[in-house]
């Protein structure tokens, strides 16, 4: 996982609520056994016309102003539905490393951190302000400073990023979660010994 660095990037606007994982990455693309290459399928059913190839000019992310965007600003309850990690894989592979919404579905939220994406929760009023700034300014760039826990915009909006300290550190350093957990292997083993005595039938 790439370390998450402070960046100033174009913010793309997706003014839709309940964007579900079936929209983020439709099921026909879940058959691959690799982790990479999902970006071209991101939002497939919305993004392409019926031929599946021609970009749909009405789809928001196809607007030239959003080209190269790393920040996605979307409506409530983003990422609801399935546990498929193909969703953050597609988002990351497309080029986003930040998603901003008022709320995220639990599994999607956790999946983001494993893939160098920060999901930022904001209040409905903050979301309205961010959306208004993107709508009113072609190609507006926001700055995300995870170290300082701040999101700032040219229009003067400053938002404190609330993030769990452990997840923040993992993102900043691009850490492997498994390696961290395995540092506590002695505790896992001790737990298993105790568990085996208490619930022996689980181990037969």
């Amino acid at each position: 996982m790439q370390p998450y660095k402070k960046h100033t990037s174009i913010a793309a606007l997706m003014d839709r609520s309940n964007v579900d994982t079936d929209q983020i990455i439709p099921k026909q693309f879940l058959k691959k056994v690799e982790r990479t290459g999902f970006g071209i399928h991101l939002f497939h059913d919305w993004r392409y016309l019926d031929d599946g190839i021609t970009p749909n000019p009405d789809f928001e992310l196809n607007k030239p102003a959003f080209k190269g965007a790393k920040i996605l600003v979307a409506g409530d309850n983003f990422g609801c539905g399935s546990s498929r990690e193909h969703a953050p894989w597609a988002i990351e592979d497309y080029g986003f490393n930040t998603v901003i919404s008022t709320s995220f579905a639990d599994i999607f939220f956790s999946n983001c951190f494993k893939n160098g994406i920060i999901p930022i929760k904001v209040t409905p009023a903050e979301l309205d302000a961010l959306m208004a700034e993107i709508s009113g300014n072609e190609g507006v760039e926001f700055t995300v400073d995870l170290e300082e826990e701040k999101l700032t915009t040219p229009g003067g909006i400053v938002i404190n990023i609330e993030v769990d300290p452990f997840r923040k550190q993992s993102l900043l350093e691009g850490l492997d979660d498994i390696a961290w957990s395995l540092k506590h292997e002695d505790k896992i083993t001790a737990f298993e010994e105790k568990h085996k005595q208490q619930l022996p039938w689980l181990w037969k």
């Binding site: 609520s17 579900d20 099921k27 879940l30 056994v33 982790r35 506590h184 896992i188 298993e192 039938w201």
Partner: protein, 467 residues
Amino acid sequence: MNRTMYEKIWDSHLVHEPEGGTPLLYVDRQLMHEVTSPQAFEGMKLKNRKIRNPHSVLATMDHCVPTTKAGRATLVDPIAKKQIETMAANCDEHGLNLYDMESPNNGVIHIVVPEHGFVHPGMVACCGDSHTATHGAFGALAFGIGTSEVEHVMATQTLQQKKSKTMQVKVDGKLTKFATAKDIALAVIGKIGTAGGTGYVIEFAGEAVRNLTMEGRMTLCNMAIEGGARAGLIAPDQTTFDYLEGKEFAPKGDDWDAAVTYWKSLVSDEGATFDAVVELDAAEIAPQVTWGTSPEQVINVNAPIPGPDDFDDKIKKQAAESALKYMGLEAGQSLTDVKLDIIFIGSCTNGRIEDFRAAAELLKGKKVAPGIQAIAVPGSYLVKNQAEAEGLDKIFVEAGWEWREPSCSMCLAMNGDQLAPGQRSASTSNRNFEGRQGKGGRTHLLSPAMAAAASVAGTFVDIRDWA
């Protein structure tokens, strides 16, 4: 201190709670299928890691599996074929218990696991699949995880997990004759919304929940995720113990008695407090049908389809407008005027024997309406064989239904069974998202009995006054 069932399971699985960090929670059982595991196995290989407890794993093949004929030879899609072969090779390499496509035990993971008693009350169980919530029916903490977390469990037998808040959903009173667990699930989601349970683990309680069979409880917990919850839970009781006793992976002999004693201790203490409580009166739950593109867009079958004006909230108004457009419906329209194309009974929500019995009851001596394609997909080979032993398959076939092989099938339409653009389905599955059953396809969720009646009428019917 009085604790909820969730808190008891949490406390008994806490391995380590680092200062300022995310707790490590022990995982007793890991369930797998072909779609969300290959990248985890690949990650293990790259780091040269071994699966910590291969005996904690049960795997099936379900998402990509065709329903037209049994066996691997039916896999014509080369990418699906590779995924299935990769699954078999990975399970073989790591010594995991896999019910292969060719196994008489294969089927949808969340149907197969309970059939063999693999998840017990008080366990923590995970799977790279959001409908893992199903196993909460046993009083196990069971939830879906992403593939990175699948790999984490493989390597460490733990998860980095934050403690959830608790919500009690209490359904008191008795269900009316044609209301089912599916109708409770949809009514709850209609009430709390698809994000209503976000951050919570829901414990379902109350007389109507206690009165459900194990299969009904599985249907209810299965859809906890559709309400945004991390997991659903139902306290284990005699119904649970009777279901588990004698199953392949259930405790035996003295272990059984010790296990039952332990399981009884798991129920929420009298006076334990929940962070939120939601109450429903079972007697008021009518057969439910979704009208939109989110499971929360649901109504009583006899209610008019709502429109943007029926909602105060700005976001709900917008959602209603776009859902009606996508679904090709108008506000005020009656569901009984909506013409259907495809009827699907199956999935981890409603692919169990009781579901097929309920549907067959309504189909006996009737015929599918002209122009309707109706597909019955048992959730496993054990379900299929049982249904055939009871002659249910004949009732379906004589009514004009297709009796297929077990698979996830049209629930997520990965295996080739899907809607064409504009086609409308009545489906016993769990998600009615745009394109879920095929691009441009329009999905209405409902119970198996309601689906059976709809196949005969060609439209939705209120089975309470239908003969």
